[in-house]
């Protein structure tokens, strides 16, 4: 079996009376695409936020590779190779597409207590950023402020930024959210090519994409994991069908 890159053990997060995550176990192996599905309010985004280090679980541990990262905050986990994209597009709207990605490159190019040289013309930032935009098909939009990009382009930019940090593990929160059929197909193809570089943990509602991409699927409802398995196993699982996938569709 390949190496486990990310592992959460029994993580629990309570908001007042609501158990957003209840003893969740999940692991992500090298080279794997692992999808988390479940109805709205199942705790998927809360799980991702805990894996990313934005919120700390009340109970449970999180390991990134060998290392226990439960107590580390988001920037420190990012430095250890954890990338992240958000459900709601989270780009720097005033910056150009190129500046957005260059900033992500900068995050992993040593400290930023560099006060004098212009970042905009710094080849060490701009060149990798250009290459990344090129790869995601945004090369022609490099000079456009992110706010003026289309929704689909912004989602791609979001991904470009996550990738520019060269993550070993990439957490994607609904990468297809709000995309039309053709955009989301393109995104699926793109994510397929990413598998070689990063292990992907994605939360997604687009079942076509999930079953096309995922090597393993974890199903959550009400903060609990009710099943984990290969797409075929999940499709055949009666509990999952009752709880989520429905009875009439085979996805």
């Amino acid at each position: 079996m390949s190496e486990i890159l990310l592992r959460a053990e029994g993580i629990t997060k309570r908001y007042g009376g609501i158990l957003a995550c209840d003893g969740v176990n999940i692991e992500l192996r090298a080279g794997e695409t692992h999808a988390v599905i479940g109805p709205n309010g199942a705790g998927k985004t809360t799980l991702l936020a805990q894996l990313g280090g934005e919120i700390t679980p009340d109970v449970g541990r999180i390991h990134l590779g060998e290392r226990d990262v439960t107590g580390l905050r988001a920037p420190e986990r990012a430095a250890l190779g954890l990338g992240r994209s958000f459900q709601i597009t989270s780009v720097f709207r005033e910056f150009t597409a190129l500046q957005n990605v260059a900033l992500a490159v900068q995050a992993h190019d040593g400290h930023s207590f560099r006060f004098w040289r212009k970042a905009r013309t710094d080849a060490a930032l701009v060149e990798p950023a250009r290459a990344m935009l090129d790869r995601l098909g945004l090369a022609g939009r490099a000079a456009v402020p992110a706010a003026l990009l289309s929704h689909g382009e912004q989602r791609q930019l979001e991904l470009a930024m996550a990738l520019a940090t060269k993550p070993r593990v990439l957490l994607l929160d609904e990468p297809m959210a709000g995309m039309g059929a053709s955009d989301s197909e393109r995104m699926t193809r793109l994510l397929t090519t990413l598998k070689r570089e990063s292990a992907l943990l994605l939360v997604e509602h687009d079942m076509d994409a999930v079953f096309a991409l995922a090597d393993r699927i974890t199903v959550m409802t009400y903060g609990r994991v009710i099943a984990t398995g290969t797409p075929a196993e999940i499709r055949a699982n009666q509990t999952v069908r009752d709880a989520y996938l429905g009875t009439d569709e085979a996805a």
Binding site: F92, R93, L103, F115, W116, A119, A147
Partner: protein, 313 residues
């Protein structure tokens, strides 16, 4: 446009001592000197507010601390500017760093209130320091000595020193905001959560910016005390923090030079309006409201130099 406007303002400022000499109006040398000193203070605030999104309502603290550093040392018989000025700037940097550790854990309205609170603490501290003037303030009998290098008692020399320091602060600001450090600051203003997710520990960068800002404002404080040959608690009053804030907003936060325009506009306007009527605030107030309502990019925005950064859709 911004560059052109800035250039003309700077040329005009450079010409002031010549004109005041010709027309024998030394008062204006003082007035424009004060404009430049406040421009430095406003520049320092713009670094954290315009680029970092940290609305400090306590920058008068640095103005006062820088001033008192000069005043207290002078009273203790240490007149050398080589001692006074680094101590003024250094103590402000230290104060900014230490208070920054606290204030930067908050944001929004809380940030505004807690920066105000720290400034008020200094205000009451210096009000109660009876041996250094207390309520009445402290007269500075001799301006800072730079042992033959420059004589600050000469009006034009002092003016040009302030001018050069303003250029220096402008240059530093311009480089800073376009550097890697500046990009982190701007990114943190726009979307701090994202910045952290891509791996920036934003706190330390904001703290560094706050410290630099405090130091720069401390320099303005040292200059102000020298110009007035006096420092008192009024420099630390919260309304002074408000004035610096108004200068930044009035000038526009979209570019580096906005605060210079803002400081000039605010001080000159209040001076000439005060000449007109003692109720000058009645005119100034609505003017400010108009700028805020219709020119969100401030004077810079009116010049069309740059889109206001705060205005993005």
């Amino acid at each position: 446009m911004e560059r052109v406007a800035t250039f003309f303002v700077l040329v005009a400022l450079a010409a002031v001592p010549v004109l005041t000499a010709i027309f024998d109006a030394p008062f204006y040398l003082d007035l424009f000197g004060r404009v430049m000193i406040y421009a430095i203070a406003a520049l320092s605030l713009n670094l954290v507010m315009g680029y970092g999104g940290m609305v400090s309502f306590g920058h008068a603290a640095f103005l006062g601390l820088g001033g008192y550093a000069v005043g207290i040392l002078a009273k203790e018989g240490i007149d050398s500017g080589f001692v006074q000025w680094p101590l003024a700037v250094g103590s402000c940097a230290l104060f900014a760093f230490l208070t920054g550790l606290v204030v930067l854990r908050t944001s929004g309205a809380y940030f505004i209130m807690i920066t105000l609170a720290f400034a008020q603490m200094l205000f009451f501290l210096f009000t109660s320091l009876a041996e250094y003037g207390g309520d009445d303030g402290l007269t500075i009998w001799t301006r800072s000595e730079f042992s033959g290098l420059i004589d600050l008692n000469d009006g034009a020399s002092f003016y040009y020193l302030v001018f050069v320091l303003l250029l220096l602060c402008l240059g530093i600001s311009a480089r800073l905001v376009d550097s890697r450090f500046g990009m982190v600051l701007r990114g943190a203003k726009a979307n701090e959560r994202r910045m952290r997710a891509i791996g920036f520990p934003t706190f330390r960068y904001k703290l560094a910016a706050y410290t630099i800002s405090g130091a720069m404002c401390g320099l303005a404080g040292a200059l102000l005390a020298n110009q007035a040959e006096f420092v008192g608690p009024s420099v630390l009053h919260w309304s002074r923090s408000g004035e610096i804030l108004v200068m930044v907003v009035l000038g526009g936060m979209g570019g580096v030079a906005g605060p210079v325009l803002g400081a000039a506009a605010y001080l000159l306007l209040s001076y000439f309006l005060a000449d007109l009527t003692k109720h000058w605030a009645i005119i100034m107030g609505p003017l400010l409201i108009l700028v805020v309502l219709y020119a969100r990019g401030g004077l810079l925005g009116l010049l069309g130099g740059r889109r206001a950064k705060a205005d993005s859709p």
